[in-house]
């Protein structure tokens, strides 16, 4: 039976995890490779690294992190952050990433999604969408794409954008609600559902998880096929296994392999 995926996401800056990992005794809580190994052992279904390194010179460090992770963890790995060219994708895949996530580069130039999917296959191109509720004239509301961590408005409708990038070859959508990110009050369910129901590819729900019910809601009400969370796992509040057991009790099909 096909299972729902639980994906922890690590923010990595200059080769270090931005917020240390607290859930097991690690020799070095700031080493993304150690965190990856711990999540692998804990039964995470996939792993996501988001590279928030600001300088171009330090980008090579991430490749080394990816390479060392791929040597130690035999699980799917998605890497995002600063992916702007076909060459960026090539070196990440060569280093051991299975999928790359493209964010602002796809907003500024949609054709990039097509070039990437044609070269590497739809299955490894994830488009990350950061969306925020916007009031429109006449009292209506819609979700629009924001870039630069939610600071810059683009005026692009999130649902239309999702459909467009999928038609260009995106194999998966990583959908983050910028209204909910960091709030711990749960996913933006109407947003998740609206996007998931309008594209044929898997949607990963992200942004706002504060408890385990939220994970269930993202799948059941949001129609996502996978859920991504960071702080509830990193700070040791819940283990991956606790999350999965909770989702099983809610009736969702989960992978509980030893």
């Amino acid at each position: 039976m096909f299972k729902v995926r639980v994906i922890p996401c690590l923010d990595v800056k200059d080769g270090r995890v931005v917020k240390g990992i607290n859930f097991v005794d690690l020799r070095d809580a700031g080493d993304p490779v150690e965190a990856a190994i711990a999540y692998d052992a804990a039964g995470a279904d996939e792993l996501c690294f988001l590279d928030i390194t600001a300088t171009h010179e330090n980008r090579g460090i991430m490749l080394d992190v990816v390479r060392r992770t791929a040597e130690a963890c035999f699980m799917p790995l998605t890497v995002g952050g600063g992916v702007r060219t076909v060459d960026d994708i090539k070196v990440l895949l060569r280093s051991g990433a299975d999928k790359v996530s493209i964010n602002s580069a796809a907003v500024s130039r949609r054709e990039f999604v097509k070039e990437a999917a044609e070269k590497f296959g739809d299955q490894c191109i994830v488009v990350a969408i950061d969306a925020k509720r916007v009031k429109r004239g006449g009292g209506g509301e819609r979700w629009e794409i924001f870039t630069h961590g939610g600071r810059n408005s683009t005026g692009i409708d999130a649902i239309e954008y999702a459909q467009e990038v999928v038609s260009l070859g995106a194999g998966e959508i990583l959908l983050t609600s910028m209204d909910r990110d960091g709030t711990r009050i749960g996913f933006d369910i109407p947003l998740t559902q609206a996007v998931a129901d309008s594209v044929p590819v898997p949607v990963i729900a992200s942004g706002g998880v504060g408890n385990l019910d939220h994970l269930v809601d993202g799948i059941r009400q949001g129609h996502a096929t996978a859920v991504l969370a960071a702080s509830i796992f990193h700070f040791g509040e819940f283990t991956i296994r606790q999350a999965k057991d909770h989702m099983v009790r809610a009736g969702l099909p989960m992978r509980l392999d030893p």
Binding site: K3, A70, F74, S95, D98, G171, E172, V201, P202, H223
Partner: protein, 216 residues
Amino acid sequence: MTVAIIDYGSGNLHSAAKAFERAARGMNVPEKIVVTRDPEVVFRADRVVLPGVGAFADCRKGLDALDGMVEAMTETVRDKARPFFGICVGMQLMATRGKEHVVTDGLDWIGGDVVKITPNEENLKIPHMGWNTLDMVREHPVLERLPLGPKGLHAYFVHSFHLAATSEADVLARADYGGPVTAMVGKDTAIGTQFHPEKSQRFGLALISNFLKWKP
């Protein structure tokens, strides 16, 4: 003993090579894992692995671009009966034809076409991306001691097409994704998995170990 992993410009060879190295380390007879573009190396290898991600036609083109590689694979696997492991599109290439966007000839080691999966449940997305259990169709040494079935271990899939085998005898395992999906094929000394053993954690490593021990 040498295991040749064919590098034809498709996919993440790093993880495949690392997974085979890890599995080989746990064995009595250490296997040498070689990533190669050289048909001579494949011809002399004791086992051959063909990974692959992307589109069928592109992968076929990449394979043909290595002068003499298809011939070396055919001689090593078909004539010298050395064990072969095709992964994902590497498995699909074992088919008669691929029908992804365009019709492309495969190696024709396993009769059948590679066709789009058509899940009959509306909420199931394409690609089939994630973890699924396997239902054994036929026993095989590489599946020995691996818990399969609805309560068994999971394998990691990422694909939109699968190998629809003409002969049921060539199918080793299926997955259910709104209908049956070919998960594993096997014929003579060749096996292939639609899923990624190199990404399937303990299950994948155990399967690779079985393949390395397999003496057909």
